[in-house]
Every structure is written in structure tokens, then in C-alpha cells.
């Protein structure tokens, strides 16, 4: 990538978290040495991201009936910002930590502001704990462990991409009506390093092992009577993640094609400039052509770079989300299956009837409960998804419109310059021989 686009990208990264920090916390950005003044050009690239993470995403209650104006229905009382990556090197290993700043008005927090540093593995721990304690809720996905591209773990672009994804993860948790009240979440946000390490060690991991064995079981057995609603949901999720994967591939190809187009444009403009050196009366026209081409080049570069950030990343996140939902659905299946198997057992073993009866009852309750939980959370997820995609695609359209408007302006500007008959040149007898 050429140095110009590199510059734009880095800039926008910095501005992103400066920007949302300023929205959230009155503190200066601390030791963020790379913090830069905010140029207006980077706004467009960072807007989409800000929109995803800074603006209050809906804090939907599980029983929320109507959508659309969900954003206003709930007052946000917990804000989380993930920023300021830092590299640590010890004798054993090197790793990156991120600053996690939270601000809250909730009474069960000791203070209204917290700042901790967490590394990627800590986020994994948090997500695992949330899944264990809330197996039938949709826990938002984490970014992939490995970079999809050729970057190594410490590549700046990769670190920033991960940082943004972690930020979105935390924001989604903070908005979640149930998960945000989870004790582990609070620990993650507030515990000092030593306490946090201790908390990490005491985790049982029992549920995760259970869940795993259930997964295998559910994979090998067919459900007797899975509620049609969840059959549909499973089908939907499979289709949904397929479509997103295709969309992602298409957008990658579009971006690639746009970058190729860009590199051609980049060569094209200078030819007109070179030619203009050989001409007298045509000089202005050729320079105008070169300028218009260059402006189009810059606009398209903006478009392509922004697409990379604000279309591909949300698409990937939702692909991971879909995977997370699949896991939850399997877990629900597992619960139902346990119930069903027990019912079967009940039929076989009449003598253990009493005891099993009790168990059946509990499990029946649990299945019903998990169905309700999951259903409510799915509804909520659908609403969030719909709003997110509305935003993602509208912004994609906006970016394209903006690109075309900028090109339009460039060419409209060029025409009078091309047509201009310059008096100073007319003085020359003729362009060639002077």
C-alpha cells in the first residue's frame, strides 16, 4: 500500500478512540502519545465506527415489544471504552494489553469510573465465563484469535482492528440487559490485576465441559420434537451466516478491484501532467485533467479504505455472532435432549419413578425457561442486527454517494479550466517553436 493511504488509515485509528473517549470520559487521553489533532477528512472513515460503538446502542429489555425507536427506550447507565494498546515484553512472552475504561451510574459499582488493562486472553476468559453462567443467552462474539490476513500479532493495523472489535464486544455487553449485570463482567471491568488473576483461577470450568459433551451428543442424536420455532431459527442462522460470508467475499473482491483501479488512476494522472509540459495553449486543459483524475483517485481511495473498515468488520462480527448463536442453539438442544432422554429413562425404569419425576420436572422447567430466554434474546438480537445492518448498508450507500459527488465536483471544476483560453498563452506566437 502506498504511503498516502497508510497515513490516512493510521490517522483515522487514532481519531477513533480519541473521539469516543472524549464523548465518554472527561479525562485526557493519558499516555496516548500518538494522539493527533482531528482532521476533518478522517471523519468519514471513523463515523461508521463511532456510530457502531459510541452512540447508545439499544439497551433492550427482554420483553420489549416494539422495535425501531428502541434506542430511546432505555437510558444507558454503563459505558465502556477499549483503547490504547500497549506492548509488554517479559522474559517468557510478549503480549498486548488494552486499556478498558468504564463509567457507570449503577449502584452496585463501588465507584463511577474504572480503568484497567486487559489482554486478549482475559477477554476470552470473560466470554467463557459468561457462556457458562448464561448458557442460553447470546453472548456477543470476540474477534478471531488469528489475523485473517498476513499480519503478525504485533502489526499495528492488526492490533487496532482487534482493539476496535474488542471495543464493540464490550459495548454490546454493556448494553445487554442481562449480561451487563453479570458478576464476572463487573470483575473484568473493576478488578485490580492481582484480584483479577485470582478470579480467573477460581473458575470451575464445569459447565463448559458439560456443554461440550452436550454438543457432541446433540450432534449425534436427532431431536425428537424440537420446537418448530427453533428449527426455523437454526435454518435461518445457517442461511444468514452463509449470506454474510458471501457478502464478505464480494466486498473483498470489490475492494481489490477498486485498489487495482486506484493504482491505474494513480499512473494515469501524471501522464497528463507530463504531457502538459510539452504544450503551450493546451497546458491548462491537461493540468485540469490531471487534477480531476487525482481528485477522483483520492475520493475512491477514501471509499475503498472506508469499506475495508466499516463494511468488512461488521460483516465479520456478525458472522462470528451467527456462530455464537449456533452454539447457543446447540446448547438449547442439549438441554432439551437431556430432558427427553430422561423422559425415556422414566418410561424404562418405573421403579425409580419418584426420583426421576422430580428430575423431569426440573428439567422441563429448565428447558422451558431456556427456550424463553433464548427466544427473547434472539428477538433482541434480531432487532439489533436489523438496526446495525440498516446503518452499515446506509453508510455504504452514503460513502458511494459521497465518492460520486466528489468526482462530480472534480469534473465540473475541470471543464471551465479545460475550456479556458488563457490570455498569457495567446501572446506566444505558437506553442511549438518557442
Amino acid at each position: 500500500m502506498d504511503p498516502l493511504s497508510q497515513g490516512i488509515e493510521e490517522e483515522s485509528d487514532e481519531i477513533d478512540f480519541d473521539y469516543y473517549l472524549s464523548q465518554i470520559s472527561p479525562q485526557p487521553t493519558g499516555n496516548s502519545t500518538e494522539a493527533q489533532p482531528k482532521p476533518s477528512t478522517a471523519d468519514t472513515t471513523s463515523d461508521a465506527l463511532n456510530a457502531c460503538c459510541v452512540q447508545p446502542l439499544s439497551g433492550l429489555s427482554l420483553t420489549q415489544g416494539d422495535d425501531d425507536n428502541v434506542t430511546e427506550t432505555d437510558v444507558k447507565d454503563l459505558f465502556v471504552v477499549v483503547d490504547n494498546p500497549e506492548k509488554h515484553t517479559t522474559a517468557m512472552e510478549s503480549y498486548i494489553t488494552f486499556r478498558v475504561t468504564s463509567k457507570t451510574t449503577r449502584s452496585d459499582y463501588e465507584s463511577s469510573e474504572f480503568q484497567v488493562r486487559r489482554r486478549y486472553n482475559d477477554f476470552i476468559w470473560l466470554r467463557q465465563r459468561l457462556e457458562e453462567t448464561q448458557p442460553t443467552l447470546l453472548v456477543p462474539p470476540l474477534p478471531e484469535k488469528h489475523s485473517l490476513k498476513r499480519f503478525d500479532r504485533f502489526n499495528q493495523e492488526f492490533v487496532h482492528m482487534r482493539m476496535r472489535a474488542l471495543h464493540i464486544f464490550m459495548s454490546r455487553l454493556a448494553e445487554h440487559p442481562v449480561l451487563s449485570f453479570n458478576k464476572n463482567f463487573q470483575t473484568f471491568l473493576t478488578a485490580k490485576q492481582s484480584e483479577f488473576q485470582a478470579a480467573k483461577k477460581e473458575g470451575t470450568g464445569f459447565m463448559s465441559r458439560m456443554a461440550d459433551s452436550f454438543h457432541n451428543m446433540s450432534a449425534s442424536y436427532m431431536m425428537k420434537n424440537r420446537p418448530p420455532e427453533f428449527v426455523a431459527t437454526t435454518e435461518y442462522i445457517n442461511g444468514f451466516s452463509d449470506k454474510l460470508a458471501v457478502l464478505d467475499r464480494i466486498s473483498q473482491r470489490v475492494i481489490k478491484e477498486q485498489y487495482d483501479y486506484l493504482s491505474e488512476l494513480n499512473e494515469w494522472g501524471p501522464v497528463f501532467t507530463l504531457w502538459s509540459n510539452n504544450e503551450g495553449k493546451l497546458n491548462d486543459a491537461l493540468v485540469a485533467m490531471a487534477k480531476a483524475v487525482e481528485k477522483c483517485f483520492l475520493s475512491l481511495q477514501q471509499l475503498a479504505d472506508a469499506t475495508e473498515h466499516s463494511l468488512s468488520n461488521p460483516l465479520r462480527e456478525y458472522m462470528l455472532y451467527a456462530e455464537a448463536i449456533k452454539v447457543v442453539l446447540r446448547r438449547r438442544d442439549a438441554i432439551q435432549m437431556e430432558y427427553e432422554m430422561t423422559v425415556e429413562e422414566l418410561n424404562r425404569k418405573k421403579d425409580e419413578k419418584d426420583q426421576l419425576n422430580k428430575q423431569v420436572e426440573t428439567l422441563n422447567d429448565r428447558a422451558t425457561c431456556s427456550n424463553a430466554d433464548l427466544k427473547a434474546d434472539l428477538d433482541r438480537w434480531h432487532k439489533t442486527k436489523r438496526r446495525d445492518f440498516r446503518k452499515v448498508f446506509s453508510e455504504m450507500a452514503d460513502r458511494n454517494i459521497q465518492y460520486y459527488q466528489q468526482c462530480l465536483a472534480a469534473w465540473e471544476e475541470a471543464i471551465p479550466l479545460i475550456q479556458k483560453t488563457d490570455a498569457t498563452h495567446d501572446d506566444l506566437p505558437h506553442d511549438l517553436h518557442q
Binding site: K243, Y261, W268, A285, M289, F393, W411
Partner: protein, 394 residues
């Protein structure tokens, strides 16, 4: 300066393809509107010509009017094509573009004051069958200079004309620039085509996805439709852009015409220098003869000692003979100088005319390109605004 005396109206239209050794002919229709033009008042003529006959006409004009920048013909084979552009000789698009190019060629020839009065041009426009024979009858081919001669002229010239040297360099450079522009344009067209056509996939996925969704279905479905529209819009766009490429190609070929003109100048300069050389040689010879009387140590003096000296009568005779030859050579030199000067005057005048035309044309070409791009942007804005409406309704 006489401004173009005639502006015949031409309409070249429908083409027909004969079956045996297929070729394309074009209908050439002419009406002379200028009252001072021979043939004014005659009914409009219309006849059929094929590309090779245009080539013959141009070849004839080039030989007959060496001092004029002869307009080029449209390219023989498609160059700088992007992947989806048809390159077949009989493709309707290609023929249409060639038709436009041929028409343009005739219009340019007719707008040049000298060329427009050429008898063979008028024959080309009026006399369908007899014209070819009369062109060959002018014996223009014997005057055509061989490539070899032109090449030697380039190396043997003592004095090159700075103005023509510059013109030669200028045309080579501009040709390089136009060539690069066209090459990149073709690649740009490929990429643009790719970008647009990829959006068709968005269209497909959106409509497939819409089948899965409840609330988002309508928005996705109609947004998908606009993605298809966006993909399709590129076809017309690139078709229009081809005109820009063709116009630049014409100026690429014009640079060849400029170089031909320079070569002609070199040939004429070579003729002049040859005449000067022979005059100089003869003058030296005469001087030696005259000097031979007084200087005994000259080469001719040695020769005369060895082989016996010429009698004074013989020497007188030789000097007299040389004097006559010198006189003749002087006339030749004078003639050649006049020729060269005449050529330079005419050629520079036509080059100037060409330059004015060029500035105007290129400005128009670029303006049209800008307008095309504006149109593209407006279409793009329109489509994406429609798509956005669908997305926001989602």
C-alpha cells in the same frame, strides 16, 4: 488566408457486406454547398467506398501534398482494447466506430483549403468506377519516397532545421503520452467493469438473503435490484467512453502525419545539400585548375609533371567547361533552395493550422470526457440514493 471554401455535407450510413471475400463498404454522400467550389450546384452524389479505397486516397494525398499534415484514417485493427470490447472486424460496434472515423477523415480533408480542391478527392466523392484508374494515372507512386531513402536522409543531413527537429521530438513525445493514456484507460475500463459487475453479486445475495428475513426482506430485495442496475450501468458508460479513446487515437495517428511531414522536409533538405555539394566540388576543381598555373607543388601540378602537362588550350577548355557546369549547379542550388524554402513556408503554415485545430479538438475531447464522467457520477449518485432509501427502510 483563405478559410475553408467548401463544407460538403456527408452522410455515410448503412453498410452492406458482400458474400465473396467479405469486406465492408460505406455509403459516401456528398453535396457541395460552397458556390466557389467546382461542382457547386450539381445534384448530391452518393456512392459506395471500402476502407482500402480510403487508404488509397490518403496515400495519394500524402505523396501529392508533402507539406500538409494529412488527417489519419481510423485504425485498421482495434488497439488498446479492454477485455469486453469486441475486436472482430465485422462487429457492428467496430464498423460503426470505423464509419465515424472515416466520416471524420473526409470532413477533415474537406476542411483543409488545399486538399479540398484536389481533383482526385472530388473524383473519390463523385466517380465510383473510374476513380481508381485516374488515381493510378497520376503516377503518384513513382514520387513516393522509399523508406531507405528517407532513412539515409536522416543520417546524411548536415544542416537540420531546428523547427522540424523540435516538431519531430514533439510528436514522438506526445505519441508516447497518448499511448500511455490509452493503455491505462483500457486497464481502467477493465477495473471499472469489474467493480460494477461485482455489485451484481451483491444484488444476488441481497435477494437470497431477503428470503430468510421477515422485517428486512423488502428493503433487501429492492436494494438488490439497485445493485443490479448499478452493475448494468457500466455497459453504456464504457461504450460511450470508447469515443474518447477513438478521438485520442486520431491524435495519436496525427503525430505520425507530423513525422511524415518532417521526413519530407529532410528529403528536400537532402536534395538541396546534394546540389550544394556538387557546386562546391566543381568550384574547387576549377580553382585547382586555375591555381595549377602558378603553383608547381599542388597535386595537379605533380600530375601534370608526371603525365605531361595540359596544353594551355586544353586547360582553358576545361575551365570553360567547368564554368558552364558551375553555372548549371548554381541554378540547381538556387532551385533547390527555393523549393526548400517554399516547402518550409507551406509546411509551417499548415503545422500552425494543425496546432490550432489540435488545441480546440483536445479541449473538446477532454471536456466531453469530463461531461461523461459527470454523467457517470450523477448516475452513481442516483442509484446509490435509491439503494440508500431501501436500506434505511429496512
Amino acid at each position: 488566408m483563405e478559410i475553408s471554401v467548401s463544407e460538403p455535407e456527408r452522410r455515410s450510413g448503412g453498410s452492406s457486406v458482400k458474400m465473396q471475400d467479405t469486406y465492408t463498404v460505406y455509403l459516401v454522400e456528398t453535396k457541395i454547398t460552397d458556390p466557389e467550389m467546382p461542382g457547386h450546384g450539381e445534384p448530391p452524389s452518393s456512392l459506395w467506398r471500402r476502407y482500402s479505397e480510403f487508404e488509397l486516397l490518403r496515400c495519394y494525398l500524402e505523396v501529392t501534398y508533402p507539406h500538409i499534415v494529412i488527417p489519419p484514417l481510423p485504425e485498421k485493427r482495434v488497439s488498446h482494447a479492454w477485455q469486453k470490447l469486441p475486436t472482430d472486424r465485422f462487429d457492428p460496434d467496430f464498423i460503426e466506430r470505423r464509419r465515424g472515423g472515416l466520416e471524420n477523415f473526409l470532413l477533415r480533408v474537406a476542411s483543409q483549403s488545399v486538399l479540398s480542391r484536389d481533383k482526385m478527392l472530388h473524383g473519390f466523392l463523385k466517380d465510383e468506377d473510374g476513380w481508381k484508374d485516374s488515381v493510378y494515372a497520376t503516377d503518384f507512386q513513382s514520387k513516393a519516397d522509399s523508406k531507405l531513402r528517407a532513412l539515409s536522409a536522416q543520417y546524411r543531413l548536415k544542416n537540420t532545421d531546428r523547427r522540424f527537429d523540435e516538431l519531430k521530438n514533439y510528436s514522438s513525445e506526445v505519441q508516447t503520452y497518448i499511448n500511455t493514456i490509452l493503455k491505462i484507460r483500457a486497464r481502467l475500463a477493465d477495473r471499472l467493469y469489474g467493480v460494477h459487475k461485482l455489485h451484481q453479486n451483491y444484488g444476488r445475495v441481497f435477494s437470497e438473503w431477503s428470503a430468510l428475513e421477515k422485517d428486512m426482506a423488502d428493503g433487501l430485495q429492492s436494494a438488490g435490484h439497485y445493485m443490479d442496475v448499478y452493475a448494468a450501468s457500466v455497459d453504456v458508460l464504457l461504450e460511450d467512453e470508447e469515443q474518447f479513446a477513438d478521438q485520442l487515437k486520431e491524435y495519436y495517428c496525427f503525430c505520425d502525419s507530423l513525422r511524415t511531414l518532417c521526413r519530407k522536409q529532410e528529403l528536400i533538405q537532402l536534395d538541396l545539400e546534394k546540389a550544394e555539394d556538387s557546386l562546391a566540388y566543381k568550384t574547387t576543381q576549377r580553382e585547382q585548375l586555375v591555381d595549377g598555373k602558378s603553383s608547381a607543388f599542388s597535386f595537379s601540378g605533380m600530375k601534370s609533371k608526371l603525365f605531361g602537362s595540359d596544353t594551355p588550350e586544353q586547360r582553358e577548355q576545361k575551365i570553360k567547361q567547368l564554368d558552364e557546369q558551375i553555372e548549371e549547379s548554381e541554378l540547381q542550388v538556387q532551385q533547390a533552395t527555393e523549393d526548400a524554402q517554399h516547402f518550409v513556408d507551406l509546411a509551417l503554415k499548415d503545422v500552425e493550422r494543425f496546432q490550432r485545430q489540435k488545441v480546440k479538438d483536445l479541449k473538446d475531447i477532454f471536456t466531453n470526457y469530463a461531461i461523461l464522467q459527470i454523467d457517470r457520477c450523477k448516475k452513481g449518485i442516483n442509484i446509490w440514493q435509491n439503494a440508500k432509501e431501501c436500506f434505511t427502510k429496512m
